[in-house]
Symmetry: D2
Subunit: 138 residues, 4 copies
């Protein structure tokens, strides 16, 4: 069985750098968010699959391993590393698109949340099935 | 009659600078937005005064006159320069808090918008009265 | 003679929206900056063409004509509308990539700036030639 | 011996919220950065104390425990939890300024970095002394 690892390319904007001349640490969390939402779209996160449930970030982390610079193209990969009852974990690697050099690695714990009830809920079954298809077995 | 010119102080964050070593042009629009929302709070923009009407930015402009740097304190002043039927215009000056040197000057046209009906509406009367009190007569 | 109008596609990130449910006004200036830097790359803004001269934004403006939403694809076009001695003006249109509906129109005055001398300078000749090739005659 | 726990107040800007109606996860990392740089200023991070050494974020993490909203005032506390040879760790708590309710807790590993040599360096002694004064003994 083939494992899909969605991958996106990101253009580093000038406003995402800082006075140190490199990409600011906050910007990486912007990239992780884009990778996450595009990943959800890639695995078919339709209104049908998630019902009234939305995703809320419970925790986000990023390790900064090398510097990135304006106008550089970064490749961000996303994989599912854990699927729980109400939450799941995504892991990301940010690489230079040209050389493949690893720039950063990040992760996020996502909780299914019902904004009407203002409480967490089980991962909707159709979405769980979609997630399981891309779960990386270690 | 005394004219109130609300004024706020802003701390320049490191992530608001860019690789040119100074504050990025986009960051100034963040400062203008903060000045605007604090101005609305200062003149008493309560739920009662605006009803279902919200504010939408129809146009924003900023002239960058001098550079600003991280950790600098900026003072942003706000004044009302025009009150129309459904919209009004705010003008802002951004100065170095210590020296008073002008860094930038900006403006924004704000439209009263009803998100339920998805259309513009007249400025609610109680809010118009509050705006008129701070209208700068030229 | 053919006129090049560089055009880029932008994916609206979730963090670029605000609690009104639409793209925040500040985010459009991020899009204009990306369009601007990609435009410079498209017309061949190499180190050779600009020497020690860098670009500084002297003024930026955006008119917001319709709302945009997260995950939407926006097309931003860039054209040169004025070439002066030390500065030039770019104009941009932001459209929905699918329907072509105009979302916003913006402009920026760019000044050639020598950071070593901390003063404005003439547009370097090779870069002026590149700009003139894409100047839109009205 | 008295332990200084620097604390700052942050006004939540409208552009820091997202279409879920609450503060976007990325914005918390902006707050952590502001807390960090203000903390450095509070403990007297002068040019003399750090020489050619600058700080680079090696890792950042945030756990999101409750939602925050636009125009809310947040209090961010900072404490030193670890001092190594070339790096140290800061921990932050983000609370609602009025009720004291915990909104988020974050941390960052900071590495001393020499941009001229492009390599990490020992924490400069005068800065280490300043850090030790605020190290929280557990």
């Amino acid at each position: 069985m083939c494992v899909i690892i969605p991958e996106i390319d990101i253009y580093v904007r000038y406003c995402e750098t800082d006075a140190s001349g490199h990409v600011n640490n906050v910007s990486y969390f912007i990239y992780l968010e884009e990778a996450r939402t595009r990943f959800f779209q890639a695995i078919g996160l339709s209104k049908e699959k998630r019902g009234n449930v939305k995703f809320v970030v419970a925790s986000a982390k990023c390790d900064f391993l090398a510097q990135a610079y304006s106008f550089q193209t970064l490749t961000v990969t996303t994989r599912v590393s854990r699927i729980g009852t109400k939450s799941f974990t995504l892991e990301h690697t940010i690489k230079d698109a040209e050389t493949g050099k690893i720039i950063a690695s990040g992760s996020a714990v996502i909780v299914c949340f019902n904004f009407q009830r203002q409480q967490s809920e089980n991962i909707p079954l159709p979405f769980r099935v979609a997630l399981e298809k891309v779960l990386v077995s270690v």
